[in-house]
């Protein structure tokens, strides 16, 4: 079917490739998964079949609560997880963005912060977990702390890099046109730094999800990470696989939402 159409010209062929290429590897992996399960190459106790995972997902998302183990937990888990990500990411933005902009513009601030922050950055997040448990106990606060800590660094570094590479004529032009310092920050510095700031925010949100799961593995009653951990306890590999897919999907949706939401800024739309 496709071959006569594709041979008609370069343009449709190119368009078909543009549409098909991004899905080629996922579709291939799915096909392999199907075949490997159907032929028994992959035993179900290592990786359940796609149908089984889909069934588990259906139960987890749509079945009435209590009708089966894990049934109907999705909304509560996803809500709890998103709340923790929002809290931690929000904290990281509130601290990382202003500190990053300051350190990108003022050598004194950079000298003051860089040694400490780069030292802390070298510590893997999981090393903070025991300390966080001592400080905050099990639950919301520990997870928010881990998420905020992890998301802080990319946001800080993005803002600092963005502020540092702003064309030095831009602040001068703004000052010459009569703007005071505070207005310069919001109307010149931040827009000019925006491409790097956006990159930092996206990386920050990405690691926020990674540390969300880490924080939720510690015995909290709800959340997507907790669901995975509970599933492991009762040997439900299908639910573990489902959890991984759901976290991937929600993480990707949040990234899209972030990029889309940031488009209220002219500098994001036009730079």
């Amino acid at each position: 079917m496709a071959s006569p159409k594709a041979s008609q010209g370069d343009s449709p062929k190119g368009r078909a490739a543009t549409l098909a290429l991004p899905w080629l590897l996922p579709a291939g992996a799915l096909a392999f998964w199907f075949l490997a399960s159907a032929t028994g190459l992959l035993p179900p106790y290592l990786l359940p079949s796609p149908a089984q995972v889909l069934g588990a997902t259906w139960t987890y998302v749509f079945a009435p609560e209590g009708s089966a183990p894990f049934a109907g937990r999705f909304l509560a888990d996803a809500g709890a997880s998103l709340g923790r990500v929002a809290g931690g990411f929000g904290l990281a933005v509130m601290l990382g963005l202003p500190l990053g902009l300051l350190s990108g513009r003022l050598a004194a601030v950079r000298l003051l912060l860089d040694t400490l922050l780069n030292g802390l950055r070298a510590v893997p997040g999981i090393a903070w977990l025991p300390l966080a448990l001592v400080w905050f106990g099990i639950g919301f606060k520990t997870t928010v702390f881990l998420v905020a800590l992890a998301a802080f660094f990319p946001i800080y570094l993005g803002a600092a890099a963005g502020a540092r590479q702003v064309n030095p004529l831009f602040p001068r032009a703004g000052a010459m046109l009569g703007l005071g310092r505070a207005r310069l920050v919001f109307t010149v510095l931040l827009p000019a730094a925006m491409p790097h700031v956006v990159t930092g925010l996206r990386l920050g949100l990405g690691v926020a999800f990674a540390y969300l799961v880490l924080g939720e593995l510690t015995g909290v009653p709800d959340g997507l990470g907790a669901a995975i951990m509970d599933a492991r306890m009762v040997g439900r590999v299908d639910l573990i696989v489902m959890g991984i897919f759901l976290i991937a999907a929600i993480g990707r949706l949040c990234d899209l939402g972030l990029v889309w939401g940031l488009r209220i800024f002219k500098s994001v739309r036009r730079l």
């Binding site: 001068r172 032009a173 046109l177 009569g178 010149v188």
Partner: protein, 256 residues
Amino acid sequence: MTGLGGHGEAPCLVVESLGKAFPVQGRWIKALEDISFALRSGEVLGVLGPSGCGKTTLLNLIAGFLTPDAGRVLMHSRLVTKPGPERGVVFQEDALFPWLTVAENVGFGLPAGQGSGQRRERVSRILERVGLTDFGRYLPRALSGGMKQRVALARVLVREPRVLLMDEPFAALDAQTRAGMHELLISLQQQLRQTVVFVTHDPEEAVKLADRVLVLSPGPGRVRQELGVDLPRPRQTDSPGFLRFKRAIHASLASG
């Protein structure tokens, strides 16, 4: 055309024994030393000199971007300490805000207090003056070099500056575009009578535009020669008087 306060009026811009040094690899290098001049309102000064003679530093000091190590800058008898819209600057390279349209760039410096209708009105009037009426909604990156410099001029003019500072504003343009910008600048300056200080490396540009020319010597920058260009306007670039001034400036640049 030369001298200061020729008619008993106070000078618009006074530069008094200005000096500035910069640290280079741990040592202080003097960029400017003992520069003095005074400009009457509406006078046009061209600053010429070889590269590294501190021309841009001089302009940055008058603009208030830098603080002098010695001497001072006075505008209407008030000490200049920081940049301000009464001293508009047109930069050498493109310094328009790339995330704003042409109209938004031009309206950027207008006080927020005015109504949006009044702001739009002022922006479109200034865009018409620089010949960019139809380009208000474009982004700077869609414009040619000459059009960008027109926008740069417009965003400064909208604040009605009494002093216009220009750092080789037309150096990056081709000869024909540059000639067009000269015409535009001369006609705007004759209507609005700003005091202008412009930096250039082109003697012809200096003689074409300036009432007075300052030739600087390098390392550190000092005033080597000051010429009053008392040619009638419009100036013909091939008239004997024009060529005489051009030769004088070339000779001054070549000496030492």
